[in-house]
């Protein structure tokens, strides 16, 4: 037995009080004249032994009561589980109510089974325990057993993905920081293998060292599952005739039926039907509706996990862009050829006073500005930029091969730049988007409806014109970027999100909850399509779709779980009984203070009854 408050053991000295009182209170009693003393003597002779035994019993009961109370105050912990009691424990409950927990197994949702286990644990918890609850949002809530129980009851299957390694690491840190002798992390999850990430052991730091990790998952194999893991409009902007919707069916374990029916809807109407098996991609061609922003969805036949059977997408249907090339400018042959291709495909129209102007000097109306082909004209180009209020200017020439980084402009990603002008912000520049960087420096920026590129699209300066993605990149540039549109932003539910600078808010149900463009905030937790608003205009769409890894229900093995936490004591259990056996086990110790208090109370009651019995007999 160990004591959490050993100083309280000094209170054992109080156990000497009853014997000392007994000894020191034995003063000479007063003399009383009593003629029948001989009868009293005879009585005392016969009853003395019983009286002495009763006195001894009372004394022992009083000493025992004090000893029990002091021991209880000292926080006794025994190396065994005693009657459901446990040592005060820091317990973090990681409750995986991610999208995959909505799967139905044996007629019951996984999340309901997990919640049942959680409730059992919390009912066993006591106020002396330190408790946290970590849900799919990754936030830790601390509270009493009652508060945590209420919080747990409020949780529903969530479209968000829970990174079990990160959540367990956070839970372990919380538990360790609580300063309790006993610490446990309980992970109630379907234990998707994908939830442990791609690198087992990445949490192999010291955060979980010494913490008991208990992983509970429902018994039985996970159900077969397929889900829509990808859905997008191709291209994202449709002009004239229409476009395609491309998607892919994923999921595991593979369902017995190889192919499933797929319904593609656009603008709230069913637009196409097809079929695909898990692991297959599909493409359907759709006619373009009237110009505008459209939300669509790809939907599968239902299976045991409904959350991943539907995936949203968005598409921009635009009129052809009117493009002109500045007189005297030389954007290069490849640009002219690309525009010709786009014009041939009806994506753009050339000539006239187009809405998108390509050139080497800026004008107030916007357009795409390339560096001048003649270095001597650089000064004039910068003066024109200043005059247009671009806020950017061409800087020093850099001749070094670097790759383009353009998360918001995927068509440019990976291209190599051999020669470029640095794009430098002017002191009075306003807000602007950096759409692509090279060598960590801005290479493609947008200021209002003016787009500035650091290199000409010629093979001497970048290999982009030589790549297959050049024409789509040009299409994006003139159809979306140069038009001031933000395009389609995709995000996973609840993920941190930084909206483009020009965005002032989100439309739809999540509109008021999102920060303005440029600031980072959690995105909507509910899958769907949300308009990106700039004032009253829709400038893009935010597509919130579940993480495709949630469709893979393959469960991690106990060995894989243990490998993810090599420094921790890991228990993987799959039945309620096994889980009950390991929870609050800590080092197999139990807090016996309540038992001692109950015993002390019983002893005091017995002592009172015995003492009252003595008095009653005398009365």
């Amino acid at each position: 037995m160990i004591f959490l408050q050993p100083l309280a053991l000094f209170g054992l000295a109080f156990a000497l009080v009853p014997p000392l009182l007994h000894l020191f209170q034995r003063r000479r009693p007063p003399d009383v004249e009593f003629p029948s003393a001989r009868y009293l003597r005879q009585t005392a002779r016969e009853a003395q032994r019983a009286i002495q035994l009763r006195h001894l019993a009372l004394l022992l009961l009083r000493v025992a009561a004090i000893v029990l109370l002091v021991l209880a105050a000292a926080g006794p912990v025994v190396p065994a589980r005693v009657g459901g009691m446990h040592a005060p424990t820091a317990l973090a409950l990681v409750f995986d109510h991610s999208l995959s927990s909505g799967a139905v197994v044996g007629g019951r949702r996984v999340v309901d089974d997990l919640a049942q286990r959680g409730r059992e644990t919390l009912r066993e918890a006591r106020d002396a325990d330190a408790l946290w609850l970590i849900g799919a949002d990754g936030l830790a809530r601390r509270g009493t057993p009652r508060e945590i129980l209420d919080a747990l009851s409020a949780l529903r299957p969530d479209a968000r993905r829970l990174d079990l390694v990160a959540a367990t690491g956070l839970a372990a840190r919380l538990v360790r920081s609580a300063g309790y002798a006993e610490g446990e992390v309980h992970v109630l999850s379907d234990l998707q293998r994908s939830a442990f990430g791609d690198a087992p052991g990445r949490a192999a730091d010291t955060t979980v060292r010494g913490v008991s990790l208990v992983f509970y998952h429902p018994a039985g194999d996970p159900p077969p599952n397929r889900g829509v893991v990808e859905a997008r409009a191709d291209p994202p902007t449709w002009v004239l005739g229409g476009g395609s919707v491309t998607g892919r069916i994923g999921g595991a374990p593979a369902p017995p039926a190889p192919r499933a029916g797929i319904t593609v809807s656009l603008g709230g109407r069913e637009a196409a039907h097809t079929a695909a098996a898990a692991g297959e991609a599909f493409t359907v061609r759709l006619a373009a509706p009237r110009p505008g922003w459209y939300a669509g969805a790809v939907e599968l036949e239902p299976d045991e996990l409904r959350g991943d059977d539907r995936r949203p997408f968005a598409v921009r249907v635009a009129a052809p862009a009117a493009v002109t090339v500045e007189a005297g400018a030389d954007p290069g042959r490849f640009v002219r050829d690309a525009l010709g291709v786009l014009a041939g495909a009806g994506q753009v129209t050339l000539g006239g006073s187009g809405e998108v102007r390509l050139g080497e000097t800026a004008r107030g109306g916007g357009g795409v500005v390339f560096p001048p082909h003649d270095p001597l004209r650089l000064g004039a180009a910068n003066r024109a930029l200043d005059a247009a209020g671009a806020g950017w200017r061409f800087g020093a020439r850099v001749e070094r091969a670097d790759s383009v980084e353009a998360p918001a402009f995927p068509a440019l990603g990976g291209a190599r730049v051999l020669r470029r002008y640095r794009l430098e912000p002017t002191p009075a520049r306003g807000r602007g988007d950096v759409l692509a960087r090279v060598g960590g420096e801005p290479w493609l920026v947008r200021a209002g409806r003016l787009v500035i590129v650091g290199s000409r699209f010629v093979p001497e300066e970048t290999d982009l014109p030589l790549s297959a993605g050049f024409v789509p990149a040009m299409a994006t540039l003139v159809l979306r970027v140069a038009r001031g549109e933000e395009g389609i932003v995709t995000a996973a539910p609840g993920d941190p999100l930084t909206l483009p600078d020009g965005v002032t808010g989100l439309g739809g149900a999540a509109g008021s909850a999102i920060a303005r463009g440029g600031a980072q905030a959690a995105g909507p937790a509910t899958p769907g399509v949300y308009p990106l608003l700039a004032g009253g205009d829709t400038v893009g769409m935010l597509v919130v779709a579940p993480d495709p890894r949630e469709s893979d229900l393959t469960r991690a093995t106990a060995a894989e779980v243990a490998a993810a936490f090599p420094h921790a004591t890991v228990h993987v259990v799959e039945t309620a009984r096994a889980y009950a056996a390991v929870r609050f086990a800590g080092a197999g110790r139990s807090d016996v203070a309540p038992w001692l208090l109950a015993t002390a109370l019983a002893v005091l009651v017995i002592e009172s009854l015995a003492a009252a019995g003595v008095h009653r007999r005398g009365a």
Binding site: V32, F34, P35, L40, T43, A47, G618
Partner: protein, 301 residues
């Protein structure tokens, strides 16, 4: 005093009404007026008077002549002719001077008043009545006489008695038996805090010599039931020996012990043909007299 039956009142209250003579007289008056038939007035050989027949009277005492002459039912009453010699033997040892409460008579005071009342009753019947008071020696001896002044002498003697010595009474008891040579009635009043075999031997001896012996065991109620109180050292006033005890704990056992002692006395007296009555100092004098009278009637039959 005559408005109430003094024999039925609390002895302490009665004792506060006056001296022994007065109290004894009041008690006896009350006692006799409460009797349907005097235990000491019977149907002896010497006619006393007639009285109307009452249901329950024995038919053999019916006066047939009156019935024949007047057609009325009268029974004859006779003055009991007696030459009884009654001796009141009174224990006045120090233990008799104890009272368990301030509103109760000491055992001696109770015994003295009861003895006075008995003496008065006996002397009214013209029985020779005497007194022997003893502790560890004979303190007072008043030979039995039936003369007119005997009652006053007896009352004054009783009034002067005060409890003093011990009850190491072997010599005293031997002296008592020596004094009681002629057959008669012996009424032994004591708290019996004496060696039992010694006293029984003396009483059996008296019985053997033809005396009608009656023992009146006087106890204080506090001697029957220990008052629940804290630990104390209980000292025997005669021997000075003490014992430390807690009445709270010993109460029930003590009561059982005392009841056992009383049972033993009663059994021993009965087997020896000795009358035994146990009274407390809270017992009204009338009750005590009635028990003695009933005992005497049984002994006479």
């Amino acid at each position: 005093m005559s408005a109430q039956r003094l024999d039925l009142l609390d002895p302490f209250t009665v004792a506060g009404l006056g001296g022994i003579e007065l109290v004894a007289r009041g008690v006896v008056e009350g006692f006799l007026s409460g009797l349907h038939r005097s235990p000491y007035r019977g149907f002896s050989v010497e006619f006393a008077e007639h009285r109307p027949y009452q249901p329950g009277d024995e038919l053999r005492y019916l006066d047939w002549k009156i019935l024949g002459r007047r057609d009325r039912l009268y029974v004859k009453q006779f003055e009991e002719e007696t030459n009884l010699r009654a001796t009141l033997v009174l224990d006045v040892s120090r233990s008799m001077g104890w009272s368990g409460a301030s509103d109760r008579l000491t055992k001696c005071a109770y015994a003295v008043r009861l003895a006075a009342a008995l003496g008065l009753i006996l002397l009214r019947q013209r029985d020779a009545t005497g007194l022997i008071a003893f502790d560890d020696a004979i303190r007072v001896t008043l030979p039995p006489k039936a003369r007119a002044g005997q009652w006053h002498l007896l009352a004054r003697t009783l009034q002067d008695l005060a409890p003093e010595g011990g009850t190491a009474a072997e010599g005293a008891l031997r002296r008592v038996t020596d004094l009681l040579r002629r057959r008669g009635m012996v009424l032994f009043v004591s708290d019996l805090l004496v060696e039992r075999e010694l006293l029984l031997t003396a009483l059996r001896y008296l019985r053997h010599r033809g005396h009608v012996v009656t023992v009146l065991h006087v106890m204080d109620p506090a001697e029957l039931d220990l008052a629940p109180s804290g630990e104390a050292r209980f000292v025997d006033p005669e021997t000075g020996e003490g014992i430390v005890a807690a009445p709270r704990e010993l109460g029930p056992a003590y009561r059982a012990t005392v009841e056992g002692v009383v049972r033993a006395w009663r059994r021993a007296c009965r087997t020896s043909g000795i009358g035994y009555h146990q009274v407390t100092t809270a017992t009204p004098f009338g009750d005590a007299l009635r028990r003695l009278a009933a005992g005497s009637a049984r002994a006479a039959r």
